[in-house]
């Protein structure tokens, strides 16, 4: 069974349960018979593999283009430095200097060079690994240690999605460029929050981000405690749909500490995530 749909699981705050929710949804979808892909786009610290335990079959390097200057051809006109917004190339005292680690790979410098003195070389920033986790097609990106620039790697992970995949993207926390790269253009965003003041504060920022990107979205409240209604009240006030409330449950935490997802370790959670998947698919199709 196929259902072309891409769902991103994001959050403002870290540690709210994105990986638990996204990996669980992927397993449940695959069990329901959908051709499912799980993509860990939290490339700075991917952790979906700890729960899905994939067998990795392929590995490919991802690089970004960085400028290489032919000093014989260069006339030191300075156009390259003027267009670069990141100070990755600068013309000073008739010398052109490049700073590869600051380059975002836009190619602007080589385009504006009037004498064709700039060519591009690839600088490796990380790796995409592809494998299978049971019936789930597994993909994740691993950014090189010390690398500060991850969006091209996030995009490389996403490019693995096939046309007939039900794809679940596990985004990184926050609302900065790596998150935008993970959620841009998806069919639906699921924001995972916890009912703490920190969780709700960051949920508001994340909700503003997805609104700005004009993406349909809804919320899952994780570690819900009866009577503690901060997140619920916030969503009600803003008119944001809550698709599930996952209880604050010691058994789930114990399973997590052993690398197990709730639906495979604690009774009742398979049904909870089946309900969540159905709700997400219903919302996303609208």
């Amino acid at each position: 069974m196929t259902q072309k749909l891409t769902i991103a699981v994001a959050s403002g705050k870290g540690g709210t349960g994105k990986t638990t929710v996204s990996a669980s949804l992927a397993c449940i979808a695959a069990d329901a018979g959908y051709k499912t892909a799980y993509l860990d786009c939290d490339v700075e610290e991917p952790n979906g593999h700890l729960f899905l335990k994939p067998i990795i079959q392929y590995r490919h390097m991802v690089g970004i283009p960085v400028p290489v200057v032919d000093h014989e051809k260069c006339t030191a006109c300075g156009s390259c430095g003027e267009i670069c917004q990141y100070s990755a190339i600068v013309c000073i005292n008739k010398n052109v200097l490049t700073f590869d680690k600051m380059c975002h790979g836009c190619g602007g410098c080589s385009l504006v060079c009037p004498v064709g003195a700039i060519t591009e070389n690839s600088r490796n920033i990380g790796v995409v690994e592809t494998g299978t986790a049971g019936k789930v097609a597994f993909y994740h990106g691993k950014l090189n240690v010390g690398e500060a620039f991850s969006p091209p790697l996030v995009k490389a992970v996403r490019s693995a999605i096939q046309d007939d995949d039900l794809a679940i993207i596990d985004a990184s926390p926050g609302t900065s460029c790596p998150v935008i790269a993970a959620v841009k253009g998806v069919d639906f965003v699921l924001l995972v929050t916890e009912p703490t003041p920190f969780g709700v504060n960051d949920l508001e920022i994340a909700a503003d981000m997805v609104k700005k990107l004009c993406l349909p979205y809804a919320v899952v409240i994780n570690r819900h405690i009866p009577g503690y209604t901060l997140a619920r009240d916030f969503c009600r006030a803003k008119g944001i749909r809550i698709l599930a409330e996952i209880p604050d449950d010691r058994r789930v935490a114990e399973a997590y500490s052993k690398g197990m997802l709730p639906h495979s370790a604690v009774p009742g959670y398979r049904e909870l995530f089946e309900g969540l998947l159905n709700a997400v698919m219903k919302e996303a199709r609208q």
Binding site: Y86, S87, V90, N93, N95, F99, K101, M102, G146, A148
Partner: protein, 120 residues
């Protein structure tokens, strides 16, 4: 000879700004005429990245031969080096005091960056 002192303010009695790339002001001082000019460096102070590189480029346009500052990172050092500008680190106190120390040879010319870059 023109030298630049990184400064927290516009005049010679301001404190030296220990940061090079993100200094508030750059005081260009002419050792022959004792005249000075303050360049606002606010744009680089708030830069996301590359403040040292841009400040170095900024300075090179003013025909400066030396920079007097507190600290200098690796990318600023490389850029100033390409521009043929000498670097003197470890300056403190007011801009005038730093200039006096420089004139009397008490500041040592840097042969490398003395701090790590703040951006990769």
């Amino acid at each position: 000879m023109k030298v630049v002192v990184t400064s927290t303010g516009k005049d010679l009695e301001s404190k030296v700004d220990p940061r090079f790339g993100r200094a508030n002001w750059l005081i260009v001082f002419d050792t022959e005429t004792n005249q000075h000019q303050a360049i606002n460096n606010e744009q680089n102070l708030n830069a996301g990245q590359g403040a040292g590189i841009q400040s170095a480029e900024n300075i090179s346009r003013h025909g400066v031969e030396a920079v007097i500052t507190g600290n200098c990172g690796p990318k600023a050092f490389r850029t100033l080096g390409a521009a043929g500008i000498r670097i003197y680190c470890g300056a403190d106190g007011t801009v005038s005091e730093a200039l006096e120390k420089f004139k009397s040879g008490k500041l040592k010319q840097a042969d490398g960056a003395n701090v790590e870059g703040h951006w990769i």
